[in-house]
Subunit: 232 residues, 2 copies
Amino acid sequence: MTTLEAALPELASFDIFNGLSKSQIMVLCAHGQVIHSGHRNELFHVGDEAHFFGVVLSGAYKLSRPSPMGEDVIIHFSLPGEIIAAFVMAQNEPTYPVSAIAMGPSRFLKIKRKNYIEEWQKNPSLILKIQNLLSHRITLFQDQKVMIKAPLVQKVAALLITLIEKEKTSELAESVLPIPITRKEIADTLGATVESVIRIMSEWSKSGIIKTHDSHIHIIQIDKLMSCLKPE
Amino acid sequence: MTTLEAALPELASFDIFNGLSKSQIMVLCAHGQVIHSGHRNELFHVGDEAHFFGVVLSGAYKLSRPSPMGEDVIIHFSLPGEIIAAFVMAQNEPTYPVSAIAMGPSRFLKIKRKNYIEEWQKNPSLILKIQNLLSHRITLFQDQKVMIKAPLVQKVAALLITLIEKEKTSELAESVLPIPITRKEIADTLGATVESVIRIMSEWSKSGIIKTHDSHIHIIQIDKLMSCLKPE
DNA sequence: CGCCTCTTTGAGCTCAATCAAGGTGTGTGG
DNA sequence: CCACACACCTTGATTGAGCTCAAAGAGGCG
């Protein structure tokens, strides 16, 4: 468990704290703990009382919820700089709407709910930043919903593309997904089965569009992936 | 086009303005226009420059976006008291992410973006209310996403139930959906085809679970609908 | 009165789910 | 250190829920 101070430079580089001084950040994150999660470690579980929220420092966490039939559905991937569970903090006696599970070794700055109520909510610029974050999340959901009727190939292609875009790979060259993601996880995100996802992606592997090295997916020909998005 | 003053008592009854005086509301909604929309009238179109946002006064509006293959996908139903397009107002040169179309005769208080920037964003309690609204919307999306793998029957049942719940029909007795909604619209919300939705709902009609009178859906036996949600 | 949107039903087809079986790598406890 | 469990990947064969296509009736509107 590293100290908050050690994480300061990282924090300052994140969008959410843009324009704030280091001492301001120290106040906002007072008593914060840096949590080191191993692969598949759980930060919190659906339904737990939400006593803390926090910032992803490195790695990634998946936010998921069990469906009525028991299988997990992945709601969102949280990458470094993102705030997790911020939006329930303002509620009365909040519980987590999802579970948060590390994908590979990751680090998370755990902040008490008290800080949110007493500091974050009082900082006007921070509130607006959080609002942007929520808006952005809604936009993501909308973009996904538009794909409902599309065949699975298009959905998988769209997912991979949005995942690289988070990393802003403006070049058309080869790029690597920022998170180690399994085919099962892709399936759980899209509401499909592993088998179907595998069938689609192994086609792509054969035609040299993607490559996988130990759950890290390399996109070799983004243009070909993009062309999967169009009708016909 | 009624005057803003006439709509004041309605506005004051809405959650979002709870705790604000009428004069405060007048300032927030200054120069607001009450728009009377007929069935299928469009308030704004996807991609239009977003110069205004507003509050649904009566009736309902559907927010939809065309899918890459041309068909419309319905993202959300906005009922009286809801704010439409608030979350893009804070952006730089915002465009509407969806189209807003009236479902049956409806009324909408149209407010200039200027008001949002200069008044709404400066009012701390209002910002928090908007944040709640966004959170609530995210929760809705999550609840929907959990159903992805469920068979269509469950999805339709779940949709109808959430639509009545907005009206807070705590009784188990008969209740009417607050909006006139067609089977096509249900299909477009769920990413299914009209035919499939019709086949499911006409089964329900035959077994007396629901009744339809001119695009108003009556739920006769909510319990039976609820039992559709469970696995098996 | 003709146009348009919505509803309904039937028949056939297809995409992706299910089921089944085998292979690999990693962590864990005896 | 081995074996055993567990999570993931892969491929093939079979099946079925929901889509597509087709055709027709019913109500509303200019």
